[in-house]
């Protein structure tokens, strides 16, 4: 922990209220009575962000707070579902994938992603009907669907990205219930990711380059990738026609 000066000028205190502080300085602010006013402000910080504008200039605004994170997940699940739906519907699906097992795997994954998409649609509609994002228009490059290799490569990106997105978004949620739901989905995405990676090269289920970011998919601490919404949205943007705007999403 960084060593702090023994006294803190007031303007630094005000600035500091916006930044993470260490324990000692927080206690000092508490003593100065400033924390109380910070708490007052915090207490007023309710969900007053009910207007989710979705126009051409700002694109599809995912919104803020827990609903924003749910919209973020809903957006990603829409893209995944659209991709696998297109794959399984390919007229040459069974010639691209000659193994019945592999066709079953891809059909299962399609079903899971459709289930996730529909879940978020229903759950957000129930919790915050005015804040749900619309259905997105997928933008799948034709090259993603031309061969077994290109389909699996795209699938790998989607799955590893999905895992990293949920891993990074968990801490942004304030509701333990939503966190629980995210946990139920992320492990299924990880199962998908492992199987897709193994279909590309057996044994790479949890090893080898991450692809979606530098380094390996599992790091030296045995940890999977976690990415921020900003990182994930940058990677996902090419696959959707609308501009995804995550600027109001929580960052802590």
């Amino acid at each position: 922990m960084a060593k702090l000066p023994t006294s803190v000028p007031e303007q630094e205190v005000l600035q500091g209220l916006k930044n993470p502080l260490n324990r000692r300085s927080f206690l000092r602010y508490t003593g100065a009575g400033l924390a109380a006013s910070a708490i007052l402000l915090a207490g007023c910080d309710d969900d007053d962000d009910s207007t989710v504008g979705n126009n051409m200039t700002e694109g599809v605004n995912l919104g803020s707070g827990d609903v924003g994170i749910l919209n973020y997940a809903y957006a990603l699940e829409q893209l995944e579902a659209a991709f696998y739906t297109a794959v399984v519907a390919l007229p040459n699906f069974s010639t691209l994938f000659t193994s019945a097992t592999e066709r079953q795997v891809l059909t299962d994954i399609r079903n899971h992603e459709v289930a996730h998409r529909e879940f978020f649609k229903a759950a957000i509609t129930a919790a915050a009907p005015t804040q749900i994002i619309p259905g997105l228009t997928p933008n799948l490059p034709a090259s993603a669907l031309v061969s077994r290799a290109s389909i699996l490569a795209t699938a790998k990106t989607f799955e590893d990205l999905g895992v990293a997105a949920y891993n990074g978004a968990g801490k942004l949620l304030t509701s333990a219930a939503f966190l629980g739901i995210a946990g139920k989905i992320v492990s299924v995405e990880a199962r998908h990711a492992a199987e897709i990676r193994d279909m590309i090269e057996n044994g790479t289920f949890a090893s080898g380059p991450a692809g979606i970011t530098g380094g390996n998919i599992v790091d030296a601490n045995g940890l999977d990738v976690a990415l921020t919404p900003t990182q994930v949205l940058m990677a996902a943007q090419p696959f959707v026609k609308e501009t995804l705007n995550g600027s109001n999403l929580p960052t802590t």
Partner: protein, 280 residues
């Protein structure tokens, strides 16, 4: 005024707020002063006791969760350590995969030990191979490391249990962003392991051709009935009040798909009961 927002905001300013409120660390006096300021700010006195409860549920449980995870990771590590050293793999790929998983479990053990040490207090518990009973109280006899099918089945059992255990623990870590994210990052690695073990069992000679990388209903994948607890509860098809089954855009999600699409958590008590036979 939203009391939960206040807690979250306090935590943004000071991630260690709950830790600080620990009376055993002589900061109770700060808590007292904090309370006075809250009164001054016209915040209900109840907030003080709520913080106190929040503290009680957080620092204590973070350590408990990490120790619980440490026990499971040691169980896995020592299992894979022995398993990867055997020569009963029909292919080099299988042995390599077990080595990869063993190394991850060792990484998790070391990571969790560091995390527990970082919380302060007593040192993390140290485990050895002797802490574990690979016969599962005689249930598996000596087959665990001599019968390839049994070895893969035990591995699948451990991985699917690990996934459910971390999932159950995650909400208890919601107050500690760093620990929560790390737990999620371990959780998804366990899920990758589980998927690969299931793939290995599916694809092995005379294997379980119908087994999938994901869990269908509460199917135990041929594990003995004593291990059914690993899968009980996985069959749910309703999430947060939403029925997952239905037909959407011409695609029918049946109960099997609905159950596969969501993995389910286990409580500490359930996991403890599942792994009990493997504890010496």
């Amino acid at each position: 005024m939203n009391i939960f927002n206040i807690l979250k905001e306090v935590e943004k300013v000071d991630p260690e707020v709950f830790d600080r409120l620990d009376p055993r660390r002589e900061v109770f006096k700060h808590f007292g002063g904090f309370g006075k300021k809250l009164v001054a700010a016209a915040i209900p006195l109840a907030f003080g006791s709520m913080l106190n409860k929040a503290y009680g549920q957080n620092t204590t449980s973070v350590r408990e969760v990490l120790e619980f995870a440490l026990k499971l990771e040691n169980l896995e590590y020592y299992f894979y350590k022995r398993a990867a050293d055997t020569n009963i793999f029909p292919s080099a790929a299988g042995k390599t995969a077990f080595g990869v998983i063993r190394d991850h479990e060792e990484d998790h053990v070391n990571f969790l030990r560091q995390a527990i040490t970082g919380l302060g207090g007593a040192a993390p518990t140290t485990y050895t191979d002797a802490n574990f009973d690979w016969t599962a109280k005689g249930l598996l006899g000596n087959a665990t490391f001599t019968n390839y099918g049994t070895m893969l089945a035990v591995a699948q059992a451990f991985e699917d249990t690990g996934v459910r255990a971390y999932k159950g623990a995650a909400p208890a870590l919601i107050s500690n962003d760093a620990v929560l994210q790390a737990a999620l990052q371990i959780h998804s690695v366990e899920a990758r392991h589980a998927a690969h073990l299931r793939r290995m069992r599916r694809d092995m000679a005379n294997g379980m051709a119908a087994l999938k990388p994901w869990i269908t209903m509460k199917d135990s994948g041929g594990l003995p009935p004593e291990f059914q607890g690993i899968y009980d509860g996985e069959e749910v098809t309703t999430q947060a009040g939403v029925n997952i089954t239905g037909t959407f855009g011409g695609i029918t999600i049946d109960a099997n798909a609905a159950s596969e699409a969501f993995d389910e958590p286990l409580t500490v008590a359930q996991v403890t009961s599942i792994v009990a036979p493997f504890l010496a």
